[in-house]
Subunit: 405 residues, 2 copies
């Protein structure tokens, strides 16, 4: 697998994209994105488990069952969540006019909205915007597209990889947005991955569902699962590899690459968590079972006390062990070891469930880095899991606590 | 039931208490407390569900089975958590020497420690301290006792009520500490309630377990369940009411009063949450079942985004509805109403699962108060629940993010 640093989603064979400033954001920044496949394509996705689902989520859950999916239209600025029956009707119109513009059936168009909850989509802006964004779709549109889906994000989030499937070059390329209201439980924020791989809808569905569990579902910024989360993958087969319709060797290669793409996008979201200064990775090893490893990793990465301690580069292992303890994981408290790791070194701070002597200054230096690993060894079994998050900072409170009218 | 504002735990018949500065805290503040019953007494308690349990918690879970409990010894400064076998041996010695000093059996002495995790109890200080604190026990010791159990608390937390049981005056008086690492799941932080009621151990156990569920288990400051949480109630029968040994009328009167005491102490902890400027009460009504009402209330009061919004007096109902949505509660999103209430008024901001027009300025004024109620009507059934918490502020990050060596 090769990472292609200069490529974007619009470089994937058979895909054209665009991103424009349609007028949803008062700031005048880009706010409407289109991802379009020229060829017929299969799609798979996962959506928020929040019982309060935004209109686009509800509509997508129906339309994604369609055998063919050729477009995703995304606006940022208004979330079209808690907008009632009228909001749902708006969502249907959005798919319909996008479909008309592209010569598709409305069920072949998926959509997403992100932004303020409870605000209806300004449909005049949407109608004009859809015309303009469809007209501008191109193979150079990737950068604009990823910018147009951002809200409080400070950085764009994208990645493109190349793999070989039966001798054919295949690209997988994803873009994502997300910074706050992030503790996906199923899909996440917005993440769109396109590929020219030739894969059946059933197999794509299988690989997407599995991949989401270890990537987007293992990050937390603030523990809040949004009403609008979604991850959608579209595969148009333009690479002309032999159709993947079973869990064969190509399926495994494809899965590994998709996992990589999804984890990279997930980590980028965690690192760009609202107000964050650091990416925190919690690696739990030697757990009795996978569920325990995952619960333990998510519990530590979600703890406000751990997050605040890491903001201050405080080697406060007590808070980590406490979060391991209330995680619900099955483990023996007397066997737990904890280490801190970063680019400048590593240090053990807790062993066999007990405090040990360690050089606090060295530990603090390790924690001053921008990427920190909290390594928790449960010394019980053979299962491992990773989760990602960020520190809790003054800026998080500022971003979310300053009342903006 | 009468609230006795000037009374404290040492005013309950047959109880003597003391609080001293023994030297556990570098600040020189009070840090060792004794609660002592002159008469034989029954006890009941609940303890942290964290799998990592501090030594005093493990020891108490054994000793509290004893038919007689006459003392609780509490130090603040070191938590005696994650201190291994040596820490457990220390805990046994602490009960033993306290028992010797008071002429009791070691199983008749419970204990608690609170403070930094992973630090062993300085046993020289403890041995001297126990001698001194036992010598000082008196009926005027209440104020010193409640001060001696504080750590990051900014205010003492105590309450005393009087009830009549079969014509006899009965006092119930409680003290508590807790400010951070607070999302009790079973018992909570430290809370000690004493009463001169005459009640059997079995009935005391029953009433304590029930009462904790609706009080301490319904508050959250930061979602972190501590390793040292405990709530203990001691009843010595000095009021000479007829023994309560069934769920009779007196049991119900006693339960109501104990519920009040526990809820007041729980709310005091929530209001004194680290860095908090406001007490937040989430009241969920008309839920399908009790579990849904409770999950919904706890989800909203625990949301970082809701807490940060309330710090800024931002009537951001979207975050509240989002937290209701991911709570796991069983409800219909299209029936939800949300109101804000405080001393200066109330305002509906969300109706039938939809955004409605409301006066944002008025809503913000309501949220500027020190005590805020978020009223969520699920319009589904007949169950209700309340949860308490606080806002998320710069100061929370400062308290927990500044590295103190």
């Amino acid at each position: 697998m090769k990472i292609l640093k200069d490529k974007s989603i619009s470089d994937v064979q058979g895909f054209k994209t665009a991103g424009i400033a349609a007028g949803f954001k008062k700031s005048g920044k880009k706010d409407l994105a289109l991802i379009y496949s020229e060829k017929k394509a299969v799609s798979a996705g996962t959506f928020t488990t929040n019982k309060v689902k935004a209109a686009p989520v509800i509509l997508n859950m129906e339309y994604i069952k369609n055998e063919n999916t050729q477009a995703i239209i995304v606006n940022s600025g208004q979330a079209n969540a808690c907008t009632g029956e009228a909001g749902f009707e708006d969502a249907k119109v959005i798919s319909k006019i996008t479909a008309d513009e592209l010569g598709l059936n409305e069920k072949e168009v998926l959509q997403a909205s992100t932004g303020v909850i409870g605000v209806s989509i300004p449909m005049d802006i949407m109608k004009n915007g859809i015309k303009n964004v469809c007209a501008l779709k191109s193979n150079e549109g990737g950068k604009n597209t990823v910018e147009a889906i951002m809200t409080t994000d400070t950085k764009t989030k994208e990645i493109t990889v190349e793999i070989l499937l039966g001798g054919k070059k295949v690209l997988i390329s994803g873009i994502a947005k997300g910074s706050g209201m992030i503790k996906p439980n199923m899909a996440t924020m917005l993440s769109f991955v396109v590929t020219d791989a030739n894969i059946s809808k059933a197999m794509l569905n299988k690989v997407v569902k599995a991949s989401v569990k270890d990537s987007y579902n293992m990050i937390s910024v603030d523990g809040d699962t949004s009403t609008n989360d979604m991850m959608i993958c579209i595969a148009n087969g333009a690479a002309q590899n032999e159709l993947i319709d079973s869990e064969n060797e190509e399926f495994i290669i494809f899965k590994e690459a998709l996992d990589f793409v999804n984890k990279e996008l997930a980590k980028k979201m965690a690192r760009d968590g609202e107000g964050a200064t650091k990416l925190i990775e919690v690696e739990v090893v030697n757990a009795k079972d996978l569920e325990s490893a995952k619960m333990c990793a998510m519990s530590v990465v979600s703890s406000n006390l751990v997050k605040a301690a890491l903001f201050g580069s405080d080697p406060n292992w007590g808070r980590i062990v406490c979060a391991v303890g209330y995680s619900g994981a099955d483990f023996d408290p007397n066997k737990v070891d904890v280490q801190f790791k970063s680019l400048v070194g590593e240090i053990k701070v807790f062993e066999n469930g007990m405090n040990i002597y360690f050089n606090e200054e060295k530990a603090s230096k390790i924690l001053e880095q921008e990427k920190i690993v909290i390594y928790v060894n449960l010394n019980e079994g053979e299962y491992a899991a990773k989760a990602w998050g960020c520190d809790l900072t003054y800026k998080y409170v500022k971003i979310n606590g300053e009342y903006r009218t």
